[in-house]
Point group: C2
Chain length 456, copies 2
């Protein structure tokens, strides 16, 4: 097997250059202005798969962004791994906060800085390069492999689930391999076995039929911005407990065992605060930071707007105010049910002085993978072989809704083999991905494919 | 005197064309990008004064926008009227709400649509044209007149008060004439004898040192947007009573007589709601709409921002959130004192999970003019002569801080001879000014100058 590992070490620069080409494509799925760039990213991946010796590689059109598919069946007695990743990225704004342009990748202090470096171009690309390492060294590939890359993960994968349902046979597999999560800490590999779900909402408050002079009308006409603040302030109490009726009904409470697992994790709360520049943390009363960010549901304003945001002062009583509000969910909360409860609650507390509309953006189910699953053990040993450390098993606060869908539709469990770090600033300016973890990721992936047959 | 009135009627079209030229200048003082246009507007007025036969007309530079001055002393035994107006305008945004471009004046249904049409270019221009009517008809001008036009009214007149203090002799007068207010209703002239003051603040909340992924950090890191909403929601109680300690200490309570005066005014609350497209109004408990909008202080969010405001959904936990919040003040509230109380209160309720900064924008004192002042009587009779209706004496919710300053520095009371309407949408898209009131304004101004000497 050393040829494979050697090939990876020898070709690091080449892999980096290819990833940089991938990162230069602004495939922003949340903004329709970038439709063409999203398609460019899909074609970039298709070209990469075509350069491998696969049984098939093609692009499937959807009503949204295309799905890139590839497969290599080596031996039907071997396990089949479905590698999932996404080639779309979050918007880069606020642009002025980037030290170097988001779509002009640069390496600083051993980190690749670019939008999508960690989420998810850099991470998902590792598996393509791992397969290349086997084929370029004429080493028999130890398992059957299928690739599926979508371009709508950042907008809630509206077309992926229908695609999976229509192509159950094509996608049949023994497990799904996903690299779109973070390690517990630098040089501290971890395998995520739990993910939070998501319900993403938008509240729009309409007051008077036009912006008004705050002197002429102020005092008699209720202010949509003040009303929006009052509504949002009522969604949580001072203990950080969400006040939406029925919100916690389906939440699986943490067992003592769960809480012990969390306590075992090496977590430095002071370092965590320092890295964020915070004097104090706040969350749901009765839970610690790791529990709050992974095993408990939460509610956050993601965006808010009203009236005059420009320089200086404008004495306007705004006609409208709006906010994007999302809730992270845990087993067994259902995003559709939570969205409905949120809408009903907000409408029930809205005053009759304004018109409040609540719209549902995308959502996703929370997920848990069985800790005894053999794929997880192979992944753990692959990590240990490369990082020389036994990985932690953790739950993560982010959402990969598709994990629950793969389980439901294909009956396949997911292995979340993350090579990123929580400090990668994904979804933020100056997103980064450690170059060494890009390379170690390719090694870990190839090791995983090598070990897997022996565990099945 | 009929020659003067005839001249005004004959030259309506010409006056309109000149006003349109004035309105085409985007003299937006709140945005430094329009510095040159602000100066163009000052020069437009200077040219207009130079076309009159004045003793002097000139532009005074300030550290900000220039002050345009002109004077004509006809007879020292006659009263001297200082005409004040402002040539700067509010920003036009939201641009997409304008039916015709804000700086391309158009007449629809007898109304001039343009930013500044009513506030204050159209209204203040009436007095210049009134003097022109006297001079072009070789009619002796009945009083001494001084003009002072500033370009910083919409940003709180930072340089006007110092200018007045430095030029007390130059500006010495018996009264100040200002047309920058609204009539009580269409064809229903009114003279404003009370104005509210203003304290305009900005709150900036800083949470983590960067935007964060709401899944990875949500639940443990306090959200600046949620915190801002909680702060703003705490500024008023459910009865609309402002919760800032000491806020009401200096408020002069309404007397029974005051409340009777309000009751006399013909006010159609249903029509008021319909015109604004509102099902219900809300304000301070225990007061009616007219009292709430003119004789009681209030607090409004004028603008608010945080996180992602674009299309679709972005799962970000924003690093920052901010809001512009202003308070309208009534006698004897002091804007500096109120600003201080606001700052102290907000800082006192801010949690230690974020950093909250409170900045003071401009402020202004409330004002009341003595109802027995002879200038008010002359103004009332001038209105009645032109509109054929006895004007109401009203208090207005808007702020013209300079009125209190003229009183304090020059010892001169102000006559607020408004020709606008509350429905003029000043500070809003589609600002308008009735063409007939532009013309009636010129007539009323010339009549006022004619009558004034007999009342002194």
């Amino acid at each position: 097997m050393s040829e494979v590992a050697d090939y990876i070490d020898i070709n690091k620069e080449q892999f980096k250059h290819e990833l940089f080409d991938f990162l230069r494509i602004p495939s922003i799925s949340t903004d329709s202005d970038y439709k063409n760039e999203v398609i460019d990213a899909a074609n970039f991946l298709l070209d990469n798969l075509n350069n491998l010796d696969l049984d098939r590689a093609e692009v499937f059109e959807t009503s949204g962004n295309p799905i890139v598919y590839g497969e290599l069946i080596t031996d039907n007695s071997k396990p089949t791994v479905l590698v999932y990743g996404h080639y779309d990225v979050q918007p880069p704004d606020p642009m002025d906060k980037w030290e170097t342009p988001p779509f002009d990748p640069k390496v600083r202090d051993g980190d690749i800085y670019a939008r999508g470096a960690s989420d998810d171009k850099g991470q998902s690309f590792t598996h393509v390069k791992a397969l290349e390492a086997y084929q370029e060294t004429d080493t028999e590939f130890p398992v059957n492999i299928k690739f599926i890359f979508e371009g709508e993960e950042e907008i809630g994968s509206p077309n992926l689930v229908p695609f999976i349902e229509e192509h159950k046979d094509l996608l049949e597999c023994d497990m799904v391999l996903i690299s779109d999560t973070a390690m517990f800490a630098e040089d501290t590999p971890s395998i995520t076995y739990g993910l939070r779900g998501l319900a993403y909402m938008e509240i729009n408050v309409q007051g008077p039929n036009r912006d008004l002079h705050s002197g002429v009308y102020g005092g008699a006409v209720d202010n949509p911005a003040n009303v929006l603040c009052e509504i949002i302030a009522q969604l949580k109490d001072e203990d950080g407990v969400i006040q939406i009726d029925g919100f916690y009904d389906d939440v699986v409470e943490l067992t003592e065992e769960d809480r012990e697992t969390f306590k075992k994790l090496p977590f430095d709360e002071e370092g965590y605060k320092d890295e964020l520049g915070l004097k104090a943390l706040k969350g749901e009363k009765g839970y610690n930071t790791l529990e709050r960010t992974s095993a408990r549901p939460t509610l956050d304003v993601n965006g808010m707007w009203s009236g005059y945001q420009g320089e200086g002062a404008k004495t306007v009583l705004p006609a409208k105010a709006g906010a994007k509000v999302s809730m992270r969910l845990v087993p067994d909360q259902d995003p559709k049910k939570i969205a409905k409860l949120f809408k009903e609650h907000v409408e029930s507390i809205a005053p009759d002085t304004v018109t409040v509309e609540v719209e549902e953006h995308h959502g996703g189910h929370p997920a848990i993978t069985d800790l005894t699953f053999y794929g997880l053990q192979a992944a753990a040993d692959a990590f240990e072989a490369v990082y020389d450390k036994e990985p932690f098993f953790t739950r993560e606060g982010g959402s990969i809704p598709i994990v629950a869908d793969f389980q439901k539709i294909l009956g396949a469990q997911s292995i979340l083999m993350g090579f990123g770090l929580n400090s990668d600033a994904i979804h933020s300016p100056n997103e980064k991905f450690a170059l060494k973890d890009f390379y170690r990721g390719i090694h870990t992936s190839s090791k995983f494919f090598e070990l897997l047959p022996d565990y099945s």
